[in-house]
Subunit: 360 residues, 2 copies
């Protein structure tokens, strides 16, 4: 019914082995033979059976990309950049397919997807975004990644701390068989510190913080940077100035309302990301406060729409496209892993209209 390698071989008057060789181009074949085979492929509209070759060759051309939420441009940009590099991978193994897995930030789903990808014998996996800080999950994740590595899958962390990278699940495992992890981290801490430092320089002292979801590494890193800036200037930082929330507009809105309820004298707010920052702005406006005249607001990530918000958002730019592209090259083995397996990508302060000197 469906045409197979054997059909092509018969049509071309050669053996199946020869057809396989011209198709994979990994072995010398006479030009004439190759031509006949290729013609037969065309005529029969033959399409390789991926599962069959994956089984025989013990390798597939799937690459998994784990993201919190593909609808969020932060991850969309990252995933798109990875994907672009995958399709450019004409080298060893040719075109790879990107399997995008939405974890929704759930550690359980993260593990589930890791297993699913291992089941597919994925050639590589890129984990993006923040990780859970829960030790049990960190351990389970490290074990899962070790199993993948052990199976020959390349693992790249992108925009994640390296906590997993160092995990050594079992001694006694032959090191050669384990591809080492590679990590691309963002300088969240430094970026946050510069951002809050910028607000302090503008005269702000009562700075509210809409932190990201609790228990996640990215949240912790950015919060640490924020606090470091405050501490460096001897500014007190009572716990009531920090509210945790998700990375969406509604959370930003609610968090801002809560922060104002706790302290109506705030003159600035740093948000978990740009989307939340827009929610903060909306909440302020709804309460009759102007941005930045009454309250300065800052975001994080510098997503494309941030420059078009009104006022344009002061934020911290993360090199998402570069990070994704690099992760894509690393996971396909087209780029050498950085020394130590870890590279930190810069976070650049972008000063725009949503922050200004404190007026009162």
């Amino acid at each position: 019914m469906t045409v197979t390698l054997a059909d092509v071989a018969a049509r071309a008057g050669v053996s199946a082995a020869t057809v396989s060789r011209v198709l994979n181009g990994n072995y010398p074949v006479a030009a004439g033979t190759r031509g006949r085979v290729l013609r037969a492929v065309e005529e029969l509209e033959y399409v390789v059976n991926g599962p069959a070759s994956a089984l025989a060759a013990a390798s597939s051309d799937l690459v998994g990309i784990l993201v919190n939420d593909i609808a969020d441009p932060f991850f969309g940009i990252l995933a798109g950049a990875v994907q672009t590099e995958l399709s450019g991978a004409s080298g060893p193994g040719g075109e790879k397919l990107a399997v995008v897995c939405n974890t929704g930030g759930s550690p359980e789903r993260e593990l589930t997807y890791l297993t699913l990808l291992q089941r597919q014998r994925a050639a590589g996996v890129v984990l993006t975004g923040s990780a859970s800080e829960d030790p049990a999950h960190a351990r389970a994740l490290a074990a899962g990644l070790a199993r993948l590595s052990g199976a020959g899958t390349r693992v790249v962390l992108c925009g994640r701390p390296v906590q997993e990278a160092g995990a050594e699940p079992e001694s006694g495992v032959e090191p050669e068989s384990r591809a080492p992890l590679t990590a691309l981290a963002f300088d969240n801490r430094g970026g946050a510190q510069r951002l809050t430092g910028h607000l302090i320089a503008l005269g702000h002292r009562r700075i509210g913080c809409v932190a990201g979801p609790a228990g996640r590494t990215t949240t912790a890193e950015r919060l640490a940077g924020h606090r470091a800036a405050l501490a460096a200037h001897g500014i007190e930082d009572p716990p009531r100035r920090v509210v945790h929330g998700a990375y969406d507009r509604g959370s930003g809105y609610d968090a801002a309302v809560e922060l104002l309820r706790r302290d109506s004298e705030l003159t600035a707010v740093v948000a978990a990301n740009d989307t939340a920052a827009l929610g903060v702005c909306a909440a302020l406006r709804d309460r009759g406060l102007r941005v930045p005249e009454d309250v300065s607001v800052a975001g994080f990530d510098d997503l494309p729409f941030s420059a078009d918000a009104a006022p344009a958002l002061t934020t911290v730019r993360l090199p998402l496209a570069e990070a994704g592209a690099r992760a894509g090259r690393l996971v396909t083995g087209r780029e050498e892993r950085p020394p130590g397996g870890l590279a930190t990508l810069p976070a650049e302060l972008m000063v725009r209209g949503s922050t200004s000197v404190r007026y009162p």
Copy 2:
């Protein structure tokens, strides 16, 4: 080395077939036996070999999603919604994996991905976004989709016209073997017509149009709606009032500059989508024109950030999440296909601050 079904069977003291049966849960197995098998699976950390089972069962659990650009929230939302439904597919075949393919709007890449997905024996494919209007590509695409359908892959068009749906590549093909295509279309034409109608009702007569990329179905549909509204009111529509461009901010900016160069008396501009509309706004601002006092601007799609732009964008809301979710259910066979295989989703006019009555 790597643990197989046979290992699990040995450990549990049963045959490989039995292990397969408990794992797939598609055949009765005694509770006790099942327990022993499951324990063995745990102990051995056994993970099914996807390619092997796909080969034997002649089916995989991969679903392809073709998008123009996953970094664009329009597609991110769509893809995310599809994906969410896939992981909820615990029914027949269980969890499906989403393979996201960025075509960049290139018909060639579209065909390439279709072949790649056919090679993987994908369980289904969802094609999103606009299609090329070129007849040759339309034909090639129809042929490709027919091949997929013929191989048992479910095909769903989402936010696409049905031109492909009717294609009959070869007579003589047994109809039963071809799963029929299903299409979910947006009412682009109606939405555009209402949008331009809204501007006309506000007194605008010289309305510039930043249309999407030329030669694409979505562009054509929206432009047709725009023109229908103008025609309905007897407003002339010289060609110079329309400029084509991509769906990004820069294109919107450039197009606006060009439109103003051609006619500095414009009082309104409708853009290809929200992102381009923000570019239009930026261009107007840079030339000292206020939105909406001097020029009204409208977008399309109603992406999340549109409400936070300044001024908030008047636009047309497309039910992206609903469409994606439905496509996900259709492609996994969890929802009946609509009568005739085609459903049209409504496009709702959202009036906000970026459009106002024409101030002469």
